[in-house]
């Protein structure tokens, strides 16, 4: 059982009337709303929060890639990961992930991930993602090739890490005469591969078949998560093995305060800034991004998506976020982790406009009063916070 602190690095200053004036926080959101002076302190603050996660005893930190969006203005997670590789000593650094079809050629991912792995002394978790729906608009990248580009890129990257170069690659999408990345990864044969999914059957089967790890990342009702993790375990069975719990991960917003009442009083408006403003107008599935059948299936599950949640009661009922006193969050999370059968929790401790002081308090309370309990109850290894892998 592993606990990660996930950061989206959202832009937290949008006008109060954003919902009325703007159609979306993605792709078309005018970048005149961005303020680089504020961005300067924001990026540094967010990095401090991830570094703090190591101090409080987390197993790892997570960052991810988005483009042209206030939801997460971290277009290059690898830049952030390389800073973290230097500024942390012990935690795993999970990049979830690089959107492979947008790297041309994708051997850039093999190189950059290997760099981070080498700098950090083997602490990288290499997330590889198809790329969010909106990104296909942001890059004018044809979504009908999303899957085939992704698979070709992923296979090529793994080959580049494991086969001696130079070798030739003549695929459908890339023709490379010399594949020979320098450096090669610190971890052998290569860093762990995590693949996030929104519930496409295609992704679940693909991950199970290759024995990578499946991260359920979007903010769905617990029942939809459960269905997807069960589907994944079934797919592993069909491939002739039992899924290791650590092959699954669950992304969830978490907020801990002194009491339940205080937690909600402090958290609610920041969570709803995220729901109402940052998730607004998210185009989940551009045409051809996944099969028409999967689009129809997930399209109907969108009623169970956090973006359509209206109040605190619905958040609690659907398990969209874990909010409350240390005791409440301990019990809830234990039940959820056991029910979902997941071996990794990816907690979002900052969300929307949640300010630095509350984020820090949240992480401190979680680290001191929730983490040790969950580790004990769920039989996870105790982390020695002083141990360091790098020099």
């Amino acid at each position: 059982m592993k606990f990660f602190a996930f950061h989206l690095m959202p832009f937290d200053k949008l006008p109060d009337d954003f919902e009325e004036k703007y159609e979306t926080a993605w792709t078309w959101v005018p970048n005149s709303l961005y303020d680089p002076i504020h961005g300067h302190s924001l990026y540094n603050r967010y990095l401090d929060e991830l570094i703090y996660a190591e101090e409080v005893g987390f197993d790892g930190v997570c960052i991810n890639e988005h483009h042209q969006s206030a939801y997460g203005h971290m277009p290059s997670p690898n830049l952030m990961a390389s800073i973290l590789a230097r500024q942390t000593k012990r935690v795993k650094i999970a990049v979830i992930g690089n959107a492979l079809p947008f790297y041309d050629p994708p051997t850039r991912v093999a190189e950059e991930f290997a760099m981070i792995d080498v700098i950090s002394g083997g602490r990288l978790i290499a997330g590889m993602v198809v790329g969010g729906g909106p990104e296909y608009n942001s890059f004018s990248m044809n979504p009908t090739y999303a899957r085939s580009k992704y698979q070709e890129a992923l296979d090529l990257i793994v080959r580049a890490w494991t086969e001696p170069g130079p070798f030739e690659h003549y695929g459908e999408h890339w023709k490379l005469k010399y594949v020979n990345p320098w450096p090669t990864p610190y971890q052998q044969p290569h860093p762990p591969i995590w693949i996030p999914g929104a519930g496409s059957k295609e992704t679940i089967d693909f991950v199970a078949e290759r024995r990578y790890s499946y991260m359920g990342i979007p903010y769905f009702h617990k029942s939809f998560f459960k269905k997807n993790f069960d589907m994944f375990r079934d797919a592993c069975d069909k491939n002739g093995y039992t899924a290791d719990p650590e092959q699954t991960g669950w992304l969830v917003p978490i907020y801990v305060a002194e009491t339940d009442e205080q937690a909600w009083a402090e958290y609610e408006k920041h969570l709803f800034f995220f729901i109402n403003k940052l998730l607004k107008g998210l185009v989940v599935f551009p045409p051809g991004y996944t099969s028409a059948k999967s689009i129809a299936r997930i399209g109907s599950a969108l009623k169970q998506f956090l973006g359509n949640v209206k109040n605190r009661e619905q958040v609690e009922e659907g398990g969209y976020a874990m909010v409350g006193s240390p005791e409440t969050v301990r019990q809830k999370m234990k039940d959820y982790i056991q029910d979902l059968g997941v071996g990794n929790v990816l907690g979002l401790f900052q969300i929307g406009t949640l300010p630095a002081d509350l984020t820090k308090k949240n992480m401190t309370l979680f680290g001191e009063q929730v983490l040790p309990y969950l580790r004990k109850e769920l039989g996870a290894d105790v982390v020695d916070a002083s141990a360091a892998t790098s020099t």
Binding site: N137, N142, T144, F285, P287, A296
Partner: protein, 261 residues
């Protein structure tokens, strides 16, 4: 009053192509739009009163397969080179609406002998500097109908597209969008190389355009009229992109007049 018509499948290489044929008279090939109007509809019926209408579904649309072989509108045109040979059609009038117009132009460039006359209705395929095209690949069906129709509340909307995600035609519609995105996502709904080939389309061309087309504005029709050696433009007032649905009678009358003249 529906003209008899029949849907069957044509085997073409390793793909199976859905084809509906109906009506009497000289043959006419109808190339459908991104909306995938492959069901026999009101204006097909009107055309079939004067022509034998061939209405195939492009690969990837409706029950035609073969999208994996399609990477551009020119690939669609090559597909029609093959299909027309199979159907023994040559030197016939071709009517193309939107995406179908684009394919029609590409076809006339590749094999001029196959096309006797070309009718282009609110045609895609060309980008004109200063004439911005709107975004077709949006999910909200209400916004989409407002974009495509002059009157988004017209009864003809229902003929042309699903009204909600609960509509039974939604899977078909998602397939049509995927196939359209395959050739029209980037470059967006056009082939940057096409303008330099337009001089090769020597057959008579009739351009039919809705004055209020927001998706592919009239400026594109005006550009085509100028660049095609033998073209004339006819503008329809108070109609948007979905001209054949919004003005079925006028569309068919104009098409017929041009072809039989």
């Amino acid at each position: 009053m529906t003209v008899p018509h029949e849907t069957s499948f044509v085997k073409l290489g390793n793909k199976s192509i859905q084809l509906t044929v109906g009506g009497e008279g000289p043959p006419l090939l109808y190339l459908h739009s991104a909306g995938g109007e492959t069901e026999w509809t009101r204006f097909h019926d009107l055309l079939a009163q004067s022509f034998t209408v061939y209405l195939p579904a492009h690969p990837g649309f409706d029950n035609s397969d073969g999208l994996n072989e399609i990477h551009s509108a020119a690939d669609y045109a090559w597909h029609y080179v093959d299909l027309m040979r199979e159907l023994k059609l040559e030197n016939v009038p071709v009517v193309g609406f939107s995406l179908g117009g684009w394919i029609g132009m590409e076809l006339a460039v590749l094999r001029p002998g196959l096309v006797s006359k070309l009718v282009l209705v609110n045609s895609a395929g060309i980008r004109v500097e200063g004439v911005p095209m709107a975004e077709l690949f949006i999910d909200e069906l209400d916004k989409l109908r407002a974009l495509l129709f002059f009157d988004p509340n017209s009864p003809y909307v229902e003929e042309a597209m699903p009204l909600s995600f609960e509509d039974s035609r939604i899977l078909l519609w998602l397939k049509a969008r995927e196939a359209t995105a395959r050739v029209g996502w980037n470059p967006y709904l056009h082939n940057p190389n096409l303008p330099k080939h337009l001089f090769r389309i020597e057959c008579p061309v009739k351009l039919l355009w809705g004055r209020n087309d927001q998706l592919l504005p009239l400026g594109i029709g005006e550009f085509l009229e100028k660049e095609l050696p033998n073209a004339s433009l006819q503008i329809f007032e108070e109609t948007g992109h979905m001209l054949p649905f919004e003005r079925a009678e006028d569309f068919v009358a104009a098409t017929k007049a041009f072809i039989v003249e």
